[in-house]
Structure formats: structure tokens, C-alpha cells
């Protein structure tokens, strides 16, 4: 249905919605015409601007993504024709031969009857019968998350190209200056062009490792948003929300992939607690003290169903196991009901297959809740020699909690003080300082 003569507010909302849900789709389809990321971005931005101008009079199209794609690709073709010689000098993205830039062929593809009118999508819904479009998004995903790019560049490019965030927004999410973020993104795009990082879904043999790299980028994005390493706020909701969007998109693009389901489940089950993690004053609330009525039951239900699916597919991957741990927490009505032995068992599984110092730390904390603070402290102290955990504030903070539980106040004080020195996030620092206060003198 076409909403004829919508209000300005309805148009703005529709454009914002299309920006959130269709950006990657529109950009990926446009890159296919331009074989140039910058030009494609320019044309897609232009298409969104035109949507704001024209949807008010022409109506909101039934398929906004298709409308925007048509407009962006048309703009790209105009620009390509206008200065074909200037653009020929630029290195183009390497893509499959079938997708090589052929402006004329692409023009044929677009010259369907739906484009007969002066304004595309004016009153007739635009049809883009293009079976390869879904794959275009995957091409964009694999290009953004290519292992030849630095991890921080992969995250920045994903936010910019897959989520459509502006450079200023990406910079804000990572608390760096806009100039620094612009330089980072430009450097990555230059490398894509100069080193010829292909705009392509990798061959079957490389796919498992490459999909894992993509999921890791989205997980890193979520972790950064969920427990911001520095800054005034505990969480950066924009990052957490965008990573949830991306995880949903990957789940659609990689149907039947256990780890894509596992990652989406992990994000949902962790993010479900967002509303309870800080109190009204913005102070950190530990899992033990959270008001579980404020957890999001819809996210928990969706996540639990996904965990079941991910675990049901042969040997579970690491995200599925991490999601299972989150599910055990989420399904406990009260903190005291938490099935800690099961959590320890799941961490044991993680340690066997994907050992890491942080997993070891989380396992030690779980041991403390399953078997008592003395056991937990012993497990933590066994990790103290690990060089990767030297300078990791959560280790000191966890030791402090168990020492406090054991009534070893002096040692607890030292451990809290150490954690404070190692923690950059203002909300976490506030929590540690309050704990230190409660110990008395």
C-alpha cells in the first residue's frame, strides 16, 4: 500500500526507518554499479535526501529499499557517464567478472517500465527483480570484515558502510576525534582499492574462517557498546543496537549457520538486561542485585529459542556456548536460583575448545559462586600469573569481591584500589569506589 500525501513527520519516520533497515541493502546494490565505495556512498546519501524531498508529495513507496536502490543506482550511472574519463583513472573494486562495471548493461537492467515516469517510485512501486541483491549485502559484509584490514578499521567500516553511520557518529561511538576516525576509514578504503581486497563472497574453502571473522567483528562491536572500556557512560547504546541490527542481518544472510544464530542469541540474551544494569542515578548494578523484572522478556524468549537451535546443530560453536551461559542467567528467576554448576560446565567447554584468559577469569568467578568464595579466590589466584590478565581490572575487582565475601577486608581494600587504577570507565570506577567506601576503615 502506498501512503499518499503523508505528513512530514510520517515521511521523516519512514526515511529514518529505511535508513536503519535498508542502508546496507541499498549501498551493496549500488556498489555493484559503481565498483567504487565512495561514489556509491555519495549516491546512496543523495537517494535518502531525495526520499525526504519526494516521499511527501509522491507518497511513501511500498518497498522503500527498492525505491532508494533505483534512485541511487540511477544517480551513479549519471555520474559515471558524465565524467567517465575522470573516473576511469580510479582503481575499481575487484569483483566477480559477471558484476564488472558495465554502465550500459546496468542501465538496461534499470530501464524497466517502472522507471518510465520522471520520478522513480512516484506512484508505482519499484520492482527490482534481482536475485543477486541479497548476496550483494554479503559481499559488502565480507569486504568490510576482511582480515587484511585492522580490526578497528573493520569495525569502523562496518558501522559506516553496513549501518550507514556518519563518520562523526562512528567517531563518537569510539570516543575518538572525527578527524582521526575519518583518517582511519580513508586508510581502510585506500587499502581495499590498492591491495585489491575483492568485493566478493569468499570461495567455499575460505568461508568458515571468513564468516567467523565477520561474527567476531560484530561481537567486538557489541562488547564495546555493552561495557564501554572508557568514558562516562557504562554502555554505548548506539553500538549495542547497531550490532544487534547486524547480527539480525547476518542471521538472514546466513540461514542455518549455527554461529550466526549463536551470536544473535548471545547479543539478545545479554542486551535483554540492559535496562537493569544501571540504576536511576546511572550507577552500576551487579547481576546479583539487578531487578530482573526490568529484563526484556521478548529478547530473552527470542534468544533462548535461538540458543536451542544453535546447540541443536552438531558441535556447538563458541558464540552458541556463550549464549547458553547467558541463557542460564536469564532463565533464573532470582540470582540465588542461578544454576552455577551448569555455568561452570559451559565455561569448561569453552576453555577446552576456545581457551582465553578472559574465559578463564569468567570461569573462576563462576566457580566462586558454585563452590564458595574460597574456591573462587583460589581459581582467580591461579590466573594471576597470566601475563594477558596483568593490568586487567576485572581480575582485581573479582578478587576484591571474593575477599570481601571472606571477610578479608584489608586484602579486599588493596584489590579494589588496584581495580580502580586499572579501570577507565567512569561508571565502573564509581561502583568500585562505593565498594571501597562500604568496607569502612
Amino acid at each position: 500500500m502506498i501512503d499518499v500525501d503523508p505528513t512530514a513527520a510520517a515521511v521523516a519516520a519512514a526515511v529514518a526507518d529505511a535508513h536503519r533497515s535498508e542502508w546496507a541493502f541499498v549501498l551493496a546494490a549500488t556498489v555493484r554499479v559503481t565498483c567504487d565505495l565512495d561514489l556509491a556512498e555519495e549516491c546512496v546519501q543523495d537517494a535518502y535526501a531525495r526520499a525526504l524531498d519526494t516521499w511527501g508529495t509522491a507518497g511513501i513507496p511500498a518497498r522503500p529499499g527498492a525505491w532508494l536502490t533505483t534512485v541511487a543506482r540511477r544517480r551513479a550511472l549519471d555520474l559515471l557517464r558524465r565524467d567517465a574519463t575522470a573516473r576511469r583513472a580510479l582503481p575499481l573494486l575487484v569483483t566477480d567478472p559477471a558484476l564488472a562495471p558495465r554502465p550500459d548493461a546496468a542501465a538496461d537492467e534499470l530501464a524497466g517500465p517502472e522507471l518510465a515516469g520522471p520520478e522513480p517510485g512516484g506512484s508505482v512501486p519499484v520492482q527490482l527483480a534481482d536475485p543477486a541483491v541479497a548476496d550483494d549485502r554479503l559481499r559488502l559484509v565480507f569486504t568490510c570484515c576482511h582480515p587484511a584490514l585492522a580490526t578497528d578499521a573493520q569495525v569502523a567500516l562496518s558501522l559506516r558502510l553496513l549501518c550507514g553511520l556518519s563518520t562523526a557518529e562512528v567517531a563518537r561511538a569510539f570516543l575518538v576525534s572525527e578527524a582521526a576516525m575519518a583518517a582511519r576509514i580513508t586508510r581502510a578504503k585506500k587499502k581495499i582499492a590498492a591491495a585489491r581486497i575483492p568485493y566478493r563472497v569468499p570461495p567455499r574453502a575460505e568461508l568458515p574462517a571468513r564468516v567467523d571473522a565477520v561474527l567476531t567483528v560484530v561481537h567486538l562491536m557489541f562488547s564495546t557498546g555493552y561495557a564501554a572500556p572508557t568514558g562516562e557512560e557504562l554502555m554505548r547504546d548506539d553500538l549495542a543496537e547497531r550490532s544487534l541490527d547486524l547480527a539480525r542481518m547476518l542471521r538472514v544472510l546466513l540461514p542455518g549457520h549455527g554461529e550466526a544464530a549463536g551470536l544473535l542469541a548471545l547479543i539478545l540474551l545479554t542486551d535483554a538486561r540492559r535496562g537493569a544494569r544501571v540504576d536511576e542515578a546511572g550507577r552500576l548494578v551487579l547481576l546479583a542485585d539487578q531487578d530482573r523484572a526490568r529484563w526484556d522478556p521478548a529478547k530473552i524468549n527470542e534468544g533462548v529459542a535461538l540458543v536451542r537451535e544453535a546447540l541443536g546443530q552438531g558441535a556447538p560453536g563458541r558464540f552458541a556456548v556463550m549464549a547458553a551461559i547467558a541463557a542460564v542467567h536469564d532463565e533464573a528467576p532470582r540470582f540465588g536460583d542461578t544454576d552455577w554448576p551448569q555455568i561452570v560446565g559451559l565455561y569448561d567447554l569453552l576453555m577446552r575448545r576456545w581457551p582465553s584468559p578472559v574465559v578463564a577469569l569468567n570461569r573462576a568467578v563462576a566457580v566462586g559462586f558454585a563452590d564458595g568464595p574460597a574456591e573462587g579466590l583460589a581459581a582467580l589466584d591461579a590466573l594471576a600469573a597470566s601475563p594477558e590478565l596483568a593490568g586487567y581490572g576485572y581480575l582485581s575487582a573479582s578478587r576484591a569481591e571474593f575477599l570481601r565475601g571472606l571477610g578479608r577486608t584489608g586484602e579486599a581494600r588493596l584489590a579494589y584500589e588496584e581495580a580502580l587504577l586499572l579501570t577507565g570507565n567512569a561508571v565502573e570506577r564509581g561502583f568500585l569506589a562505593a565498594r571501597l567506601d562500604q568496607l569502612g576503615s
Partner: protein, 115 residues
């Protein structure tokens, strides 16, 4: 098609301590690599160890400073290279993964193409 330079970096101390058997094995592996990728290899050589290197830099007086040793001292030194032809970075990396590199690793650099 584009060209990439695959720079082979290796720990020279390990290389110096290699047994004749290990040296022969590595030579054989390079010969096999060369045969397997003969259609894309455009050049390649092993280099003498870095102590044989001489560096040249312009100095403040408008002349040149000639110094003994490689341009930058690193634990793993440039020990050889291949110049290969590949459609894109993924293909170049697939070739690079097959370069014998037991004492170090390789760096893949796109050649700057002059149009």
C-alpha cells in the same frame, strides 16, 4: 590481473643454525612451490643474510651516508621474495600461504601500478 610482491621474512639466527638436512628440505620446498605456481610467478630470489646489506641515505650535507647493515634492524629479516600475478588480494594471499616460511612469515604488498 595485478602484481604482488611476497616478501619473505625469517629469523636469521634460526636459519644459521639449521642442519644441512633442513636447508636441503627448504630448498626443495621452494623448488616445488616454484613449479606449482610457475604460471603466476614473475620473479623471485633468495637474498644473502642481512649482515651483507649496506644502506645508503642522503645526509644533511647534500651527500650520502653509507652504513653497514639493513635499513631497519629487526629480529626477522628480509630473506627473499617472489613477484606474483594475482586477480586480487585473496588470490595473492592464497599463494602466499603456500610459500615455505618455517623460520618466519611473509608480507604481501601490492605493486603500485602505473597507468
Amino acid at each position: 590481473m595485478s602484481q604482488y610482491l611476497i616478501l619473505i621474512y625469517a629469523d636469521e639466527a634460526q636459519w644459521a643454525n639449521a642442519t644441512p638436512g633442513e636447508t636441503a628440505q627448504l630448498t626443495k620446498e621452494h623448488a616445488e612451490f616454484g613449479q606449482r605456481h610457475a604460471d603466476v610467478i614473475r620473479g623471485g630470489n633468495a637474498l644473502q643474510p642481512s649482515p651483507t646489506a649496506t644502506s645508503v641515505r642522503p645526509d644533511a650535507g647534500g651527500s650520502f651516508a653509507v652504513t653497514d647493515g639493513p635499513f631497519a634492524e629487526t629480529k626477522e629479516a628480509l630473506g627473499g621474495y617472489y613477484l606474483v600475478e594475482a586477480a586480487d588480494l585473496d588470490q595473492a594471499l592464497a599463494i602466499a600461504r603456500e610459500v615455505p616460511m618455517r623460520f618466519g612469515g611473509v608480507e604481501v604488498r601490492p605493486i603500485w601500478e602505473v597507468m
